[in-house]
């Protein structure tokens, strides 16, 4: 089945869903409308994936239209191997979040909640398909306001502090990126022929001077580093996660963080090879620090949700490490890690949320012995915990292995791959420590009297978890189809980043 303008449709469908939402304002119809809309969006994204030709490095399903002709800014969307899997991941996680929230997790202002989610979905999908920097920036910011409301209205007790911290951190980065984008636009040629379209900019990138690349990489890199988040810009993340409602956490960890890693791959590397080379040592060091620091801090967390949040910092360290060792294995590992982290950490937040809704406890010391009461819950949660710590046969292993493989081959400054590889591998061991220890304390041991009557997973919760479980196992056992989709495009991006003089004519 082929559908024309499928990427535009992906951006339009959630917006269309907002219309009936504005008309039927009761909670029940709001849930139904949101479920239907996000499901249509999910199906559409799968259709998009089917239409994608595997093995080509170029952008596909491209659509262009004039938007701000006097500024040379266009509506320009397309996907390549890097983004084509991130879009279905986004739509799946959004659908799951909406489905789970409809099951009773959100009781107040349901219509507004669903509207925020649909708005958020436009921004998230838009970030991954935009090929014009202006459009990308608009989409990047479009993700901000709905998430700000989701944490701020439906969050926990300290939600106001957390949501403002989240917004201020993100805005600080993205407004500097805006300055960077304008600088790129001005450097893209004389008045009248300026552009922000990515392929055009890549074609003219050897006109960007060294100083220019240094500063603009910094401006854009800060935005991505805060979004990702990289150490030491991560401090907003634990606060935001702890206070966000479950669906908000799933999306925040599953999709929003990926916008940072994706931004590095899509824009920073191919546009600024010289800037990349200058900043690379800093980012490598910070990535390994993030892996070890995230792991160490996770180990001592008392709060279950905070533990998962800090483990995200460590996992995102693998993403930046994989990207900046500048070889294809590392980059493929990084993109797979983004996908896997989306599915696995999304699932972990889902299960922490399910557990919290029953026990109203998130402090690990207050929990225990749940395994005897909830066999189904334990089975699912166990698989996701094992995937998160990188057990072979599950998806986390594949991506972390590829990143480590890439790191060992890394030959540049500082110190080389043989120094950083083993250090990063330590992070995998730390992950086993904090995750298994947590699992043991939460699921085994004596059970509290109060928890004995609590029910196991409901059908709707199982329905949310099953697709994630299937993907976790499938990507772990048989990752080759995904790698085949990702690899050609990444190979080209790595080549572009390694050789500043390389000229590639992109469609």
């Amino acid at each position: 089945m082929t559908i024309d303008h499928v990427l535009t449709l992906l951006l339009v469908v959630p917006a269309v869903g907002l219309i009936p939402l504005a008309i039927f304002r009761d909670a029940r119809s709001a849930k139904q409308i949101a479920i239907v809309t996000t499901f249509v969006e999910l199906v559409l994204s799968i259709v998009m994936l089917v239409q994608f030709h595997v093995g080509e490095a170029d952008f596909q399903l491209v659509e262009k239209a004039d938007w701000l002709p006097s500024l040379g800014i266009r509506y320009f969307v397309g996907v390549d191997g890097v983004s084509v899997l991130l879009v279905p991941m986004t739509t799946l996680l959004t659908f799951i979040s909406v489905l789970y929230s409809s099951g009773g997790a959100i009781k107040e202002r349901v219509t507004e909640f669903m509207a925020a989610f649909l708005l958020l979905e436009i921004g998230m999908v838009g970030v991954f398909v935009s090929l014009d920097l202006f459009l990308f920036y608009v989409m990047f910011e479009l993700m901000l306001v709905p998430m700000y409301l989701i944490i701020g209205i439906w969050g926990g007790p300290r939600r106001i502090y957390s949501t403002l911290k989240f917004v201020i951190f993100t805005l600080a980065g993205s407004l500097l990126m805006l300055v960077g984008i304008v600088a790129i636009w001005l450097a893209s040629g004389p008045e009248g022929s300026r552009t922000l379209s990515l392929p055009d900019l890549i074609a003219m990138r050897n006109h960007f001077s060294k100083d220019f690349q240094f500063w603009v990489f910094l401006a854009m890199g800060l935005a991505f580093a805060i979004k990702l988040p990289m150490f030491p810009f991560h401090t907003w993340l634990p606060d935001a996660h702890v206070e966000a409602p479950t669906a908000g956490s799933i999306i925040l960890a599953g999709v929003l963080l990926k916008a940072g890693g994706y931004g590095f791959l899509r824009f920073a590397l191919p546009l600024f090879p010289v800037g990349t080379a200058i900043w690379l040592p800093v980012i490598i060091v910070l990535s390994v620090v993030a892996i070890l620091y995230g792991g160490a801090v996770s180990t001592v967390q008392k709060d279950l949700k905070k533990l998962v949040a800090y483990s995200s910092v460590a996992h995102m360290g693998f993403v930046t490490l994989g990207i900046f060792v500048l070889n294809t294995q590392g980059a493929v590992g990084a993109v797979l890690q983004m996908l896997n982290h989306g599915f696995v950490t999304g699932a972990l937040f889902l299960f922490v949320g399910i557990q919290y809704e029953r026990t109203h406890r998130r402090v690990i010391a207050d929990l225990g012995g749940l395994a005897h009461r909830w066999p189904l819950y334990t089975a699912f949660f166990g698989v996701f915990v094992l995937a998160s710590l990188g057990l072979p046969g599950l998806n986390g292993f594949v991506s972390e292995f590829l990143v480590l493989l890439g790191t060992f081959q890394f030959g540049g400054d500082p110190l080389g791959g043989l120094f950083w590889g083993p250090l990063a591998a330590l992070g995998v061991i730390l992950a086993a420590v904090y995750l298994l220890w947590m699992f043991q304390r939460v699921m085994y041991g004596p059970v509290r009297e109060a928890y004995k009557a609590l029910p196991d997973l409901s059908p709707i919760e199982v329905a949310c978890a099953v697709p994630l479980l299937i993907l976790t196992v499938a990507l772990g056992v048989f990752p080759q189809p995904a790698i085949a989709i990702i690899e050609p495009s990444l190979d080209r991006i790595v080549k572009l980043a390694l050789d500043p003089t390389l000229q590639v004519a992109l469609k």
């Binding site: 608009v138 306001v145 939600r159 949501t163 917004v167 500097l176 805006l178 001005l186 500063w215």
Partner: protein, 494 residues
């Protein structure tokens, strides 16, 4: 004076006639009738004025031609109807229209005399429009005074309210002081050029150069004088008190109309009238812009009264616009950025102040942050439009405020002020903190028990709704507005 002269200023004549008619009608009608009828009359007059440029051709096709080209001055060279003037005319008329339709219920509630409110509003608009038309120091000064004197009255319209009195007196004293400085500066300019025409002044200044003492004195005085009018730090002290004390619909207009006019004057005199010197003088603007935006935002951060907070934030926006003025080396793009920003700012800031009209303000202390608690539950539409205006003021897409910031950063970088662009970006983050704090209060807090009553005039909701939609639509499809601003800026900055 010929027929074409009169036709060229038809919009101004219509506004003036409407204002006169308001005064007469107010005297003739009963109090309640004038409350009901005057807004309709004013709105009708403004709408006709807005479309008056389009009805010129029937009077004579030749007018159309030189109006477009903007080369032939009218009234013996005192007035010029170029695209620049038309842009600002439209801005002022739209803002006045906005300030008219949001006012009636407030005026009635607070027992503000309707006839005086509308008449002063119209006279002030007329003054602002005159500034936009000016090609001569005298026209400009007459316009400036015609604009500000009614505003002093507008600020003090609640005679029994001591805050309103304080606002009017402060505004009047500082306004008169700044006018004096400005006139003194104009006198120096005349002394240098021997003429009051901008063209002659530009030529004379270009010949004299910045090294000459009189040029420096003249430019400093004019910059300070116009800086007062636009509320540039450190000439801003009148702003918060005047905005805070004035009746809210008047504040809404004061915060945008005179500011837009001040920037029209700055562009006409300091950019249009300075010729080649502007390149050297622009550093002064860049420094003032950085100080203005930072000071405005930092002080706004600690305000607990939303009306004062918006007053200080309007100072910060002056800084953003001034940054684009400083970047005039970048050519028409800088002028277009100023014009676009002025339009966007007018729309969103007027909307934000007008959103405060939902709160039945005791005296004129403004709505405190606590009073904002749970606004979304108490008045869904009001909170939504207020949030849209605040998000637009923050500069988050897809709103017109974002496009305006983008357009300002562009010439600033192009002119080589990268440091100013970074300061601007960081300032926008500061601003986000206090703007979003209001959104937090509206959406994420529950209303206090014993919260003051909200008022919900339909006309207010309707006009705010329309302008909120405009803010979003212009944020998604800004091209035609930008093109218009670019055409309008072209005569000044080739």
């Amino acid at each position: 004076m010929t027929g074409t002269d009169l036709i060229a200023v038809a919009p101004e004549i219509i506004v003036a006639l409407t204002a006169g008619l308001v005064v007469v009608a107010d005297a003739a009608l009963s109090r309640s009738a004038s409350r009901r009828l005057l807004p309709v009359l004013v709105a009708a007059g403004l709408v006709v004025a807005l479309f008056a440029p389009a009805i010129w051709p029937p009077f004579g096709p030749s007018v159309e031609v030189f109006v477009r080209k903007g080369t032939t001055p009218f009234f013996g060279g005192f007035v010029n109807v170029d695209p620049f003037a038309n842009f600002f005319r439209a801005v002022f008329v739209v803002l006045a229209l906005f300030a008219t339709v949001v006012a009636p219920s407030y005026l009635e509630r607070k027992n503000v005399p309707a006839g005086e409110y509308y008449a002063t509003l119209l006279f002030s608009t007329l003054g602002a429009m005159t500034i936009a038309l000016s090609t001569d120091l005298i026209t400009l000064f007459v316009g400036l005074e015609l604009m500000t004197i009614p505003i002093y009255v507008l600020a003090g319209m609640q005679r029994r309210d001591r805050y309103s009195n304080e606002a009017a007196l402060k505004y009047f004293l500082l306004g008169a002081f700044s006018s004096a400085l400005l006139v003194y500066g104009f006198a120096w300019l005349f002394g240098i050029a021997g003429s009051t025409r901008f063209v002659d002044i530009a030529a004379a200044l270009g010949a004299a150069g910045l090294a000459s003492g009189p040029t420096i004195v003249a430019l400093s005085l004019v910059t300070v004088g116009l800086g007062f009018k636009a509320a540039v730090v450190p000439f801003h002290q009148w702003t918060p008190d005047a905005y805070d004390g004035a009746p809210t619909p008047a504040t809404a207009f004061m915060s945008v109309g005179p500011k837009a006019a001040a920037f029209a004057a700055i562009l006409r005199v300091l950019v249009g009238g300075m010729g080649p010197l502007i390149v050297d003088w622009s550093t002064v603007f860049a420094v003032l812009a950085a100080i203005t935006m930072t000071a405005g935002n930092v002080v706004a951060l600690v305000q607990t009264n939303t009306k004062r907070m918006l007053a200080y934030s309007s100072i910060a926006h002056t800084g953003y616009i001034l940054a684009a003025v400083a970047a005039t080396q970048a050519g028409a793009a800088a002028g277009a950025a100023v014009l676009f920003y002025v339009f966007a700012y007018g729309l969103m800031n007027l909307g934000a102040f007008a959103s405060l009209l939902y709160f039945d303000l005791e005296g004129t202390r403004g709505a405190t942050l606590d009073e904002m608690n749970g606004f979304a539950r108490r008045h869904g539409l009001g909170a939504l439009v207020f949030a849209v205006f605040l998000i637009s003021l923050t500069g988050i897409p897809p709103t017109v405020g974002f496009v305006a910031k983008f357009l300002v950063i562009r010439p600033v970088l192009d002119a080589g002020y990268a440091w100013l662009a970074v300061i601007l970006a960081l300032n926008a983050v500061l601003a986000a903190f206090y703007y979003l704090r209001v959104v937090v209060r509206m959406y994420m807090y529950d209303a206090d028990s014993g919260a003051p009553a909200l008022v919900s005039p339909r006309l207010l909701s309707l006009s705010l709704g329309v302008s909120a939609i405009a803010v979003v639509v212009l944020g998604i499809l800004p091209n035609s507005l930008y093109q218009w601003a670019l055409d309008a800026a072209a005569p000044l900055l080739p």
